[in-house]
């Protein structure tokens, strides 16, 4: 899927193929069902406990016709992973690393060697016991060049697959090439789900894991089904089964929900018009993933005029993020103030210069860019790109910056515009641990560094932070990194948006944050 290659690449189909189909559809929807007098969108999922049993039907955008159940692959079918597998560690509701198959973990004094103590009595769906050999194999599988895992780029500089040690069946020792006090957080990534030893060739089809559900059927870009695994180590899940259906077109997905054919739309951020129709419907409603989407206007720091740090500063001071949140998000989210770390992340620091169009004018004049005019690329790839770009354009006008909006084709947006045009609109899912976030998106030379920003001092700061074993001091260093990005970096972060998730009114216990979805607790009421 799509961490990083974003979710629902295919949801674009509607927009690119049928012109403004999705827009037209939601307009029609609201016209027909008389839901124009918009009800306020619900702030949270429906409370209450689900009944035991039942089958939850999830509509999801397929990753590709070449989808696989191999968690390490860049083409993994994301929704299946959390149901079928466990990781060693996951991200807890508080944003910190929490136990999954590892019960505890500790570094040596220099954070160069990490020891994970693994849960006992865990079995895979085929009855085999889970041991440290499986955990070590999972890491080797991710690091294997043939797997071409996106997470290999993060782990290869740290982990030598040949040096992993398994002193006993329930201990995994990971010696690192360089000290890293945040190492466990890198294993919370969804490429890091644990697979049985030696399963690399077959795991893409068998889906044998230790998770709460076991695979019954799977077809790439087609329907599939998982059923409750009764011997799951954390107890059996509430549901009896989950049926996954792949629906590429976003308006088709909403239609399926409104018609009662499915209970939940996965990886789908509904546009406001559609969300209102869903919320007004008899059997469907809206839940939110708070600050689920991180929106960025990356300035390519290798392209004029953004090579000049004063121009970048001016671009940031010139606009008011609160205005963008109001105009583009209708309040369903938070202002980003150019800080890429989400507001609910434990290391987030509230620090940013005030919105100051006069100072922006002054900086531009100083840099020789009075009356700056730049192109800003957007596309129908995501419903919020263009509203965000328009709001930025309007806000920056007050500082004398002229923004020309250019709409690019959605289907080649991430191959032709992203990292190619000096200024564009894009987004990521939030939920990346801070060390991964900074090293992947802001470090010199990283393939996801969308601003091509290269600052040796910043890279050294990241190295100092990951090597710092004192939690409080490390937190300070990550705070400094945030200030550095805000002051000198190329990324503008106007807003964090709540993801508007469409689900049936029967669904109870829905809980999702970042890349964590609670498959154990979700269920249905009165189904």
């Amino acid at each position: 899927m799509s961490d990083i290659h974003h979710p629902g690449r295919r949801s674009v189909l509607a927009a690119s193929a049928a012109g403004a189909a999705s827009l037209g559809a939601s307009w029609l929807l609201s016209g027909c069902s008389g839901a124009t007098a918009a009800p306020v969108l619900p702030a949270a999922a429906r409370p209450g406990t689900p009944d035991r049993g039942g089958t939850l039907r999830i509509a999801r955008p397929p990753a590709s016709d070449a989808e696989t159940l191999d968690p390490a692959s860049s083409l993994s079918a994301y929704e299946y992973l959390g149901a079928l597998y466990n990781r060693l560690v996951r991200i807890g509701a508080d944003g910190d690393v929490a136990p999954d198959l590892a019960e505890s973990w500790e570094p040596d004094s220099t954070a160069r060697t990490w020891t994970f103590r693994l849960r006992k009595g865990v079995t895979f769906h085929d009855g085999r016991a889970f041991t440290s050999a499986d955990a070590a194999y999972t890491l080797r599988h991710i690091l294997d060049k043939a797997t071409a895992s996106p997470q290999a780029g993060v782990l290869t500089p740290l982990v030598d697959p040949g040096r992993l040690r398994t002193p006993d069946a329930h201990t995994l020792v990971v010696p690192l090439k360089t000290p890293n006090a945040e190492f466990p957080s890198l294993l919370t990534h969804y490429n890091c789900y644990v697979v049985p030893e030696g399963s690399g060739k077959s795991i893409g089809r068998t889906g044998i894991g230790t998770g709460p559900f076991k695979l019954e059927s799977f077809a790439p870009a087609g329907p599939g089904r998982v059923t409750a695994y009764k011997d799951h180590w954390a107890g059996r899940p509430v549901l009896d089964a989950i049926a996954f259906y792949s629906v590429a077109d976003m308006s088709a997905r909403s239609g399926a929900l409104l018609a009662g054919q499915v209970d939940l739309l996965s990886q789908t951020n509904l546009d406001f018009a559609t969300a209102r129709v869903v919320a007004a419907s008899d059997h469907a409603t809206i839940a939110r993933v708070k600050n689920g989407q991180w929106y960025v206007l990356p300035m390519l720091t290798t392209d004029k005029p953004f090579t000049d740090v004063d121009v970048r500063r001016a671009m940031k001071l010139a606009y008011d993020p609160e205005h963008v949140v109001k105009a583009a998000l209708q309040g369903a989210g938070r202002a980003g103030w150019d800080n890429p770390v989400p507001p609910d992340d434990p290391v987030h620091v509230l620090t940013h210069p005030r919105h100051d169009p006069e100072q922006a004018r002054f900086l531009l004049k100083k840099a020789g860019h009075e009356n700056l005019a730049v192109d800003l690329y957007t596309s129908a790839y995501d419903p919020l790109f263009t509203p965000m770009a328009l709001a930025y354009q309007e806000s920056a006008k007050r500082a004398g910056i002229r923004i020309r909006l250019k709409t690019a084709s959605a289907d080649s947006y991430y191959t032709q515009i992203w990292m190619k045009q000096p200024l564009m609109a894009t987004y990521w899912y939030t939920g990346r641990p801070v060390d991964q976030l900074f090293n992947q998106v802001f470090r010199s030379g990283s393939s996801y560094n969308e601003t091509a920003w290269s600052d040796k001092g910043f890279d050294a700061l990241l190295d100092r932070a990951r090597a710092e074993t004192d939690d409080a001091r490390r937190r300070d260093l990550y705070g400094e990194a945030q200030r550095w990005v805000i002051d000198k970096g190329g990324a503008m972060t106007p807003m964090f948006a709540d993801r508007l998730v469409g689900l049936s009114r029967k669904v109870r216990g829905y809980s999702e944050h970042g890349f964590e979805f609670d498959y154990l607790g979700i269920g249905l009421k009165g189904a």
């Binding site: 012109g19 559809a25 929807l29 590429a248 077109d249 308006s251 992203w418």
Partner: protein, 317 residues
């Protein structure tokens, strides 16, 4: 007659060759290739290079085209760059699903619009005529995805009679697809209907004003008999050509409608293949579409010739 058929067939083959070349070039001109499209944001230089190498994309374009052409002439359409499965079998499966929609659409559209056209012709300039003409024109003017969305809202959301989308994959059985076929078929039929209604109406008006119909009436035949025995056959002739053209148009129309209904047909396959730059699949579908298009036109010409003595005998003089 025979030389006419031969000439038409030769022209058809030329058209096919040309269209396959054009499609190939068009896809080459699209930004990005299958490696960058499939990998999206994960398209690191190493990953792209690895995927390109394994797919043979590092070879020159003309070489790949020649290879593909050679295979296609032997009935081998190659393997999909994305799924790695044989294109022939894959496309056939999707094509079969689309055929189900197409057949039902044509039955709907032809019978429905002929009937409406005849009624409009018989009640010329009175309210049934105005109603039918206006509604069918509106139906034609509105894009098919809007018609499809309205149908979903009315007949699967407001009145839960039909499923809004198909949740099955391409290997769905006819029994699984059948409940979901009606709305897409209706959406396409609505868009198709206007042409046929207009043609049928005009034919009926012409025929009803002709002398032999007056004679038939004078002989005391009922209106129903006059219409079915005399007016309908003559009205069918011009309609035939319109139907043939519409069958060809259906291939394009289904692409949009199938996506709205998530229907696992060839239109949906085409769209996702274009997005992925999955050249072998695009080529196969384009070639098949061209074959259908050319065959429909050929059939319409020959059919018209068979029904029209003047055209039929021209070759002999």
């Amino acid at each position: 007659m025979l030389s006419f058929v031969a000439r038409r067939t030769a022209a058809a083959l030329g058209t096919l060759l040309l269209s396959s070349l054009l499609v190939f070039l068009a896809v080459q001109a699209l930004p990005g290739d299958v490696a960058t499209q499939v990998l999206g944001k994960d398209a690191t230089p190493q990953a792209v290079a690895q995927l390109r190498g394994s797919l043979g994309l590092d070879r020159p374009a003309w070489e790949r085209y020649a290879d593909w052409m050679r295979g296609a002439l032997h009935g081998d359409f190659g393997t999909s760059l994305v799924s790695g499965k044989a294109v022939g079998g894959d496309v056939a499966q999707y094509l079969g699903n689309s055929a189900l929609v197409a057949v039902i659409t044509i039955l709907f559209a032809v019978t429905g619009s002929l009937l409406l056209g005849i009624v409009a012709g018989l009640y010329r300039d009175r309210w049934p005529d105005h109603l039918i003409s206006t509604v069918s024109l509106v139906g034609m003017s509105v894009p098919e995805f809007v018609v499809a969305t309205v149908l979903v809202l009315c007949f699967s959301v407001a009145l839960p009679w039909f499923p809004a989308v198909v949740l099955y994959g391409p290997d769905a059985t006819v029994g699984q697809l059948l409940p979901a076929v009606w709305l897409p078929a209706l959406a396409l039929a609505v868009v198709m209907a206007a042409y046929i209604v207009r043609m049928a109406r005009t034919s009926v008006i012409d025929v009803m004003a002709s002398e032999y119909v007056t004679t038939a009436r004078l002989k005391g035949l009922s209106t129903w008999r006059v219409v079915t025995r005399h007016a309908l056959p003559s009205a069918l002739l011009p309609v035939l050509h319109v139907i043939a053209l519409n069958v060809a148009w259906l291939l394009g129309g289904v692409a949009v409608v199938e996506n709205v209904f998530n229907y696992p047909g060839v239109g949906k396959l085409m769209l996702s293949s274009v997005q992925n730059r999955d050249l072998p699949v695009i080529q196969a579908i384009a070639l098949i579409s061209a074959v259908v298009y050319v065959a429909c036109n050929l059939a319409a010409d020959l059919g018209a010739m068979a029904l029209n003595p003047r055209l039929r005998t021209r070759g002999r003089t």
